[in-house]
């Protein structure tokens, strides 16, 4: 039994490493496929004025004179030893940049997910409590709005209204981390989390509605009701409890996406998260920044998936038993 579990763990680690290697190759190739390089990204059209010797000097400086295979394995080897590369633009190591950006994105993801759950689950249950009734329509409208309103539109509208009408724009101040200034940090996280949470609430709401409707049709619900279990306890303990697996799956998936950085929302609200780090890296063609950060994001996604799997075991005894 223990050996089977051990084999499973080895297989899991191997598949994780394989996935990460695949991501590394994919990002490396995709970045090189994008026209331009760090020289043209930095100099723009002025690059046309470079003499061959100047060009060669710059290629040497950025390490672009090395063969692609050498570049790839040099980067991957460095990654393994904890050297994520260096950003010439910000004059900082990519590891330092990531260590600053990742907690910001993590915090934003947590707030967004919490807001999404606070809206999505109750509204999903409300919708499911009487399918196709007016209360269901409320849920459906909210979820349709969450899915259809683009984040950039909601973000700029909220920002303009709050700033112009109420003078409330904490994001116009320098970004403060949770440690530096918790109050300002929470204010700065509020609108971005609201925008992201609203978008994510929609799939959570829909998943909750479907799962709850499905569970409600089971015999054990009818039995519990017949045995006189109070309605509220029935809905929360029996129905929601048994509908949790798809909701957790959806939440885990959304959380994973959020850890990849919400580029648009981070841009609009000037949140220095991981999404902006990747975007700046792509704009400046800072290969090491993009490659290393994407690998970290992929790792985070894998970890979130593992944690989601582990959660199944806690919330569903059938998974535990199997």
């Amino acid at each position: 039994m223990r050996r089977i579990a051990g084999n499973r763990a080895v297989r899991r680690v191997a598949s994780t490493l394989g996935t990460l290697f695949g991501v590394a190759v994919f990002v490396f190739v995709m970045l090189r496929a994008i026209p331009g390089n760090q020289i043209t990204a930095g100099l723009g059209t002025e690059a046309a004025a470079l003499t061959p010797a100047q060009k060669q000097a710059l290629e040497q400086y950025y390490g672009l004179d090395q063969p692609l295979v050498t570049q790839f394995f040099a980067w991957l080897g460095n990654m393994v030893t904890g050297n994520f590369g260096y950003s010439a633009r910000s004059q900082q190591s990519v590891l330092d940049l990531t260590l600053h950006a990742l907690p910001v994105t993590f915090e934003l993801a947590v707030f967004s997910i919490v807001l999404a759950l606070l809206v999505g689950v109750p509204l999903g249950m409300l919708s499911a409590s009487r399918a196709n009734a007016p209360r269901d329509a409320i849920g459906q409208v909210v979820s349709l709005a969450g899915l259809s309103i683009p984040a950039f539109l909601l973000a700029t509208t909220l920002l303009s209204i709050f700033a112009a009408s109420f003078g409330f724009n904490p994001n116009g101040q320098g970004f403060a981390t949770l440690v530096e200034d918790p109050l300002l940090n929470l204010q700065q996280m509020f609108l971005p989390a609201l925008v992201l949470g609203f978008g994510i609430a929609a799939p959570i709401l829909r998943t909750t509605r479907t799962a709850v409707l499905e569970v409600r049709s089971h015999d054990f619900v009818r039995t519990a009701r017949a045995k006189g279990v109070p309605e509220r306890r029935l809905q929360v303990r029996h129905v929601l409890g048994n509908a949790l697996v798809p909701i957790v799956t959806m939440t885990g998936l959304q959380f994973g996406y959020l850890l990849g950085g919400a580029v648009v929302v981070e841009q609009i609200f000037s949140v220095p998260g991981i999404g902006r780090q990747v975007l700046l890296g792509i704009q400046q063609k800072e290969y090491a920044v993009v490659q290393s950060t994407v690998l970290v994001i992929a790792l985070a996604f894998v970890v979130v998936n593992l944690l989601t799997d582990a959660l199944y075991r806690i919330i569903d005894p059938r998974v535990r038993a199997s």
Partner: protein, 512 residues
């Protein structure tokens, strides 16, 4: 609705109200880094380099020109005035330029600035290995001598009237001979009105006043923070809420939004930069001057300006520098003339029409795609098919650098000196001539003449001839020059916007 759900929604609402109420509408920048009366400038990106000789990005140039000094400078009207060189004098034959340096100037690290630094800087700038972007501007310099601590003598290959203006850009910043590029990319050490204070990558860069600055205009504000707010609309919001006091926009739509609130003042300054349909006269159908002239006659420039840029700008000829400005009414077709365009096409034997492959950059600047679409619509009426390729900016730069296009919709940088603007494009040995796609012996002669003439009044007619030659041969189709929009809040005084978009007058700016 389950009571739990109601409580959850209630908590969310309470949280949002609590957070919102934590900040009063008129709250000052409580968590900002700027001390009292410091100035906060909103920028969309932080500098991509702090090494002045390689900086071409707008944001980097704006920061660096406040940190570094140059031998000459531009005043608010773009006249060349003394900088670190107090005076300069050309020898009679024009083959020697003697610069007298300002005394008592120090670098940020406290070391003294003298001729040793100028000699070292200019020699490194001329060295190809440095990969300095302004190297070509020193093409006429044979050698640099420093006979004493306050004098520098440049031996030239011949007279170069454009040299004093070329020395005024931050790409020609004077560095300490003791500093290396590696050191300066993290710790700038210049003679400018400000010093580097604090930098938080991708978030902000704060400059602190240089109390030993040599200039007559001592910096007014103790600090200038360049705060990175990637989205221009978000900068407007930050100004409305009082967190940012100054910003420069190039999108007329954003400028209009900023002004509409009533709390932000927006100053419009005509730009030196110009919008142009670059033609590659060495490619395809455009080799024939008559095809190029047909394109010129088939375009109503005002219509391009009105539709793509809300009418915000002026129709322009080739030279936008105030002292040498070209008169757009003197071009072969000052107004749209489809009959004349048809005549030129007939002369080229292309009455059936021509196709011109045109590259357009998406995202490089706000109006590019709209300009291209309007040009396409107008030219279609003259049987000229502008085949548009809308490219991501990296792809556009690659194609542009390789001169791989018939035509390109572009926003090119203008300079205060016309030789600096066009010498590199339209002289046969210019380093951008491959991209310009046009040169002629007449132009070579005119540019050489312009360089050899030091008197501005005498130079003007020469560059008028340059402009006329370019337009008569439809080397490119010059469209319009837009505005730079400088937005300030009511408590900002003393900032002088410049046509070059420069923020050098941050040193005269104060915040009340």
């Amino acid at each position: 609705m389950p009571r739990g759900a109601l409580s959850a929604v209630g908590i969310a609402a309470a949280l949002s109200i609590a957070l919102t109420s934590c900040s009063s509408p008129s709250a000052p920048a409580a968590g900002g880094d700027a001390p009292a009366k410091g100035l906060v400038v909103g920028v969309t990106s932080d500098p991509d380099t702090l090494f002045p000789w390689k900086a071409t990005q707008f944001q980097a140039v704006n920061v660096l020109q406040n940190l570094y000094g140059t031998l000459t400078e531009f005043d608010k009207d773009l006249n060349v005035v003394p900088g670190l060189a107090q005076s300069w004098e050309a020898s009679k034959d024009g083959e020697k330029l003697t610069l007298k340096l300002r005394q008592g100037v120090t670098f940020a690290d406290g070391s003294t600035f003298d001729s040793k630094d100028v000699k070292a800087s200019l020699e490194r700038l001329m060295d190809e290995k440095t990969a300095a972007v302004a190297r070509a501007s020193l093409a006429s310099v044979k050698s640099v001598e420093a006979p004493d601590a306050n004098t520098v003598v440049l031996e030239l290959t011949g007279p170069d009237a454009a040299l004093p203006a070329n020395l005024a850009t931050v790409n020609m910043a004077m560095l300490s001979s003791d500093d290396t590029e590696q050191e300066l990319t993290t710790t700038p050490n210049g003679t400018g009105p400000f010093r580097l204070g604090k930098r938080v990558a991708s978030q902000s860069l704060t400059l602190a006043r240089n109390d030993t600055y040599w200039g007559p205009e001592k910096p007014q504000v103790p600090t200038v923070e360049f705060r990175v707010i990637p989205d221009e609309s978000s900068i407007v919001s930050a100004m409305q809420s009082g967190n940012v006091q100054l910003a420069v926009f190039d999108d007329p739509l954003v400028a209009q939004t900023a002004e509409s609130g009533g709390t932000i003042t927006v100053a419009k300054t005509p730009q030196l930069n110009y919008h142009v349909l670059q033609l590659n006269g060495r490619h395809g159908e455009l080799k024939d001057v008559n095809v190029r002239l047909a394109i010129q006659c088939a375009i109503d420039r005002k219509q391009v300006l009105d539709t793509a840029a809300l009418g915000e700008g002026e129709v322009t000829g080739p030279i936008t520098a105030p002292a040498y400005r070209s008169d757009p009414s003197k071009r072969p077709c000052p107004t749209r003339d489809l009959a004349k365009a048809a005549g030129y096409l007939a002369k080229a034997g292309k009455s059936g029409g021509v196709t011109v492959k045109t590259i357009v950059s998406q995202g490089e600047y706000a109006t590019s795609v709209n300009e291209a679409q309007n040009l396409k619509a107008q030219l279609a009426e003259a049987k000229i098919n502008l085949e548009l390729e809308v490219l991501e900016s990296g792809a556009f730069v690659d194609r542009w650098v390789a001169a791989d296009f018939d035509a390109a919709v572009a926003l090119n940088g203008g300079r205060p000196d016309p030789d600096g603007s066009y010498g590199r494009y339209f002289t046969s040995d210019g380093n951008l001539n491959k991209v310009a796609g046009y040169s002629s012996p007449e132009l070579d002669k005119l540019f050489a003449e312009g360089k050899a003439t030091t008197d501005q009044a005498a130079r003007k007619p020469i560059y008028d001839q340059v402009a006329a030659h370019l337009e008569d041969n439809a080397a490119w189709i010059w469209l319009f020059a837009g505005y730079t929009y400088t937005a300030t809040t009511a408590n900002v005084q003393g900032f002088v916007p410049m046509a070059s978009g420069s923020l050098q007058y941050l040193r005269t700016t104060s915040v009340s």
